[in-house]
Symmetry: C2
Subunit: 249 residues, 2 copies
């Protein structure tokens, strides 16, 4: 079952739809980036150049370039004797490191955002919130996580600070693969929604302090849930799936 879920995750990636004016490498990059942030790729998962190239129906060259960019972003790390690129497995210390950076940067971004957020931005944030709520009720993890990212990123984007946003995206590249594991913690989803509700209310009220507190609380709760999954050994560290299997030719 675990294997087939992941198979479906990879099936969603390809083949690549080429776009006029876009390089293959940038399209590969965006696909994999999205897969990382949304949690479709799991910690420890190894990303084989040839397998990705095969799935996306491109040569290995654009895959190499895309993966190297993701390495630079922090989303992938070099692993093992083969130097295969894999989704990083984070230690407890690294989780805390990321948590504290996120508190600093996302808290700051939220405060800057609220100074200038417009009604059209609020509408799409409300939409993301609504979809998240429905997904939480339905136990639809993928939709929940997609809109969790959407909710957060729409808020921070309203700060109109592109470099800050890219730093935050880099952090989410690192923790995105872990978020699937947090839903195994029974209270996490509900707690998370409580913080999201508070954040949304703070946005409506134009209250920067309340917004920052809600964001910081959400980050703390997520980190705590992630720590629990580390303790319970439930981080869903996956066996390499993207590496071709020897006997499946």
């Amino acid at each position: 079952m675990s294997e087939s879920i992941q198979g479906n995750g990879w099936a969603r990636l390809g083949p690549l739809l080429l776009q006029e004016g876009a390089t293959a490498q940038s399209l590969v990059y965006e696909k994999l980036r999205h897969a990382l942030i949304s949690g479709h790729l799991r910690p420890g998962e190894e990303i084989s150049l040839r397998k990705v190239a095969s799935i996306l129906n491109v040569s290995v060259t654009p895959v190499r370039e895309a993966l190297r960019r993701l390495e630079g972003d922090g989303g992938l790390e070099v692993f093992g004797g083969n130097r295969v690129l894999r989704v990083p497995i984070l230690t407890d210390a690294e989780l805390m490191d990321i948590r504290d950076i996120r508190i600093n940067l996302e808290g700051f971004a939220a405060v800057q955002a609220i100074k200038q957020i417009g009604s059209s931005q609020m509408r799409v944030i409300e939409n993301a919130y609504g979809l998240m709520e429905i997904a939480a009720e339905n136990g639809d993890v993928d939709t929940y996580l997609e809109n969790n990212w959407r909710f957060h990123s729409l808020i921070y984007r309203a700060a109109d600070r592109p470099i800050l946003m890219s730093q935050i995206e880099g952090l989410w590249l690192r923790v995105g693969p872990l978020f699937h594991a947090t839903v195994a913690v029974p209270t996490h989803l509900n707690q998370s929604m409580v913080s999201h509700t508070a954040a949304l209310q703070a946005l409506r009220d134009r209250d920067p302090v309340a917004l920052q507190e809600a964001i910081v609380r959400d980050i703390h709760e997520a980190a705590s849930a992630l720590q629990q999954t580390l303790i319970n050994g439930e981080t869903e560290v996956e066996r390499p799936v993207l590496r071709s299997k020897r006997n499946n030719k």
Copy 2:
């Protein structure tokens, strides 16, 4: 003159000394990374794959991979119809964006560092400070900037937070190419040394608040000097040098 100075900057890069167990691409990456942080590369400078490959005496493949990593780090950006990678030219808004992120992250890193900094770490920080002081007296810009980065990075490294450190390095990749321009502002070097002296004293005194204030002041002053160079049109945005010249075959 400007051309020959830059020629010397590039001469320092190559040829690549291959190391047992290290890939060519990682060595290229480190060289270029260092060149960015230390200010040897200037905003707007375009980095031609073939020219770098020629200087470093490798094929274009490892250069491509290294440059793509640097793109992911934020040190280089895609530019123009050819999609050549170049050192980003920062707008005033981007400078302020980076300044604020730096204040958040480097301020936080400094506070964490002071909690656990040891005497051997202090010794090398003192050494960097001393070399910076001598270089400031002698007007030796390169040595000053090398040790400026060294001073700062040694402090933050004492926080023992690898991911935070990589975020900070990414920011320095972005501003490093600009620091040469700040020495054109008459008071900047002296002001910077005042803040460094205060930071060092705070480290000696184990005073986190004073350390954070000194770091934050230094960042503000650097950003202010950079803004002045933008206003004066002195950002030293360079013509492409690394692109092969048409008539120099």
